[in-house]
Symmetry: C2
Subunit: 365 residues, 2 copies
Amino acid sequence: MAPYVTEFDLYEPQSADDRQFAIQKIAVVGSGSWGTALARIAALNAAEKKGFNHEVRMWVREREIPGQGLLTDVINSSHVNHRYLPDVPLPHNLVAVSELVNVVKDATLIVLVVPHQFLTPVLEELSKPGVLATDARAISAIKGVEVAGDQIYTFPWLIEQKLGIPCSALGGANIAMEVAQSEFCETTIGVPSKDDAALWHAVFDSPMFRVHPIEDVAGVSLSGALKNVVALAAGFVDGMGYGGNTKAAILRIGLLEMAAFTKEFFPSSSSLTFSHHSAGVADLITTSFGGRNRKCAEAFIKTGKTFAQLEHELLKGQKLQGVATAEETYQFLHARGRTEGYPLFTKVYKISFEGMDPKTLFDDL
Amino acid sequence: MAPYVTEFDLYEPQSADDRQFAIQKIAVVGSGSWGTALARIAALNAAEKKGFNHEVRMWVREREIPGQGLLTDVINSSHVNHRYLPDVPLPHNLVAVSELVNVVKDATLIVLVVPHQFLTPVLEELSKPGVLATDARAISAIKGVEVAGDQIYTFPWLIEQKLGIPCSALGGANIAMEVAQSEFCETTIGVPSKDDAALWHAVFDSPMFRVHPIEDVAGVSLSGALKNVVALAAGFVDGMGYGGNTKAAILRIGLLEMAAFTKEFFPSSSSLTFSHHSAGVADLITTSFGGRNRKCAEAFIKTGKTFAQLEHELLKGQKLQGVATAEETYQFLHARGRTEGYPLFTKVYKISFEGMDPKTLFDDL
């Protein structure tokens, strides 16, 4: 074993079949780029490993594709999700299903990977009596956090509350298309128990998608949300034309703010999640060099347009994750009287929404 | 104070004049890009802050510049180091001096920033009786390590042994030209004592060059050497055409190997140096996205040329730092029977020198 394995990693999951679980049935609720990429891996593993039901169902919101028929039929006959994961062949045991109750029927492992704003109605449906198996577990691959006044919640916590089942969190340096093309990468799964670690590791781990379970659901969830705020700062740096030193400094400071924020408001979390794991430092790097938050933030500086304008022009009106999270995080910190403890997050908000001069980004960091 | 300040940072240096040191005289031994950039900052601070002798001397190896006279005269009249830091005006209190003994005469603060291979003759000269002031201190900004069989030494350790004075280490995400252009950045100074922290902080800290002293000389030294090995791996990833996920995974794994290596062979070092400080994670990011180690490693994959060929073609025969360190580190680990503990370092060596297939980089990480 490499000497740099942390105490977290010592918690090495056994494979699900070694532990003699009942046969597991996987359902994926969501079919965007990331949902489809995760569903592909889960289906490949379900087909190959012992202990899984062969068929993996993926929820697809039904619609008519002009000249081709229903979307589920198109996906199930072509075995490609043309819109969200073009040119990537999907395994034949991955089946697109339009009725949510049929997706999760008898499923023991529910992967939740819908856009943030669809979570509430999905949980509403799943919480109805008889929809979920009593021994089901969930995992959230949804980025973001939920803020209400001076309260902040992770999605796994909301899912556990609403569905009454354990919920893990998945995050890491995982650009969907690269994962789908089997480029080597790692992901982190924050789990509430050793059983969750063993099962989710079995669902997702493969030679080119290395899964590291850690006992920090909140850390994995918060990192996935807050990295996008830091990526905006990285985009501001790019937009102002500064080089690698400045960007690396902003990433370093941002990573420390991410860890400190999570530790302050979720005290059972671990700063190792940020410093040592894919969900922390690696995801931050990928997002701050390649992601669309960085890109839009660069355009924000260079064009002088508002984020609302840029979202309209570049994202067809879709809300930019980092901007939404920067706003929510700021409002939460403001409600708690703690903005001064997080100068980078606070400045990203003020530059984004209050016309603060981006050159002041570096003051008092 | 921001909540993410670590125990290291609590060790906040007072300014040198608050502590009522004798007047300090700064000497910079070296005048390449990085030496000149550091000398510029030191001279700006010496001119502005209390407690410093106004003049800062910088060692320049004398030569005739055709049609312009002696190099020291050219630098001292133009106040530019045209060859190594073109277009950057240097403060007039920074004086180029060709005789090493005159550079360090009466100096209490010696900045050593010569290329690795010149360190031995420089130390030979400085160690002669009467050359250094008895109360002098040194700081090393030299990248690399010294390996002899199964022994490994940092440059600050060698400097302390040879000169009998305390030696700190400086490292961080610091591309010389960006520092010289006053782009915001951070640096880390590993110090042996609180007095060293206060003095070196005063020498270098400025609004756009933030200095964080930490009590880890070995960590700062080793990080500056080992990051270049990881940057080669990052270049291999780029050369093979993989994307951000894979590169971030390699950086994450590399950072853990860097910290583990340092902890194993320099047990008093701290893993926080790698995870939290500019000399660690930030320097690794900058080097792995922008540096010439990365660039040459990408070319190594794409062209199929050896590193010796690439050094000849791209670096005028100069040895690539990461390649030298990869070789030394491997030889050291091999002598210690510890190669299997550091799979990434070992593979970088074998890909670089033994024709190992670069696609195996990801196996068993």
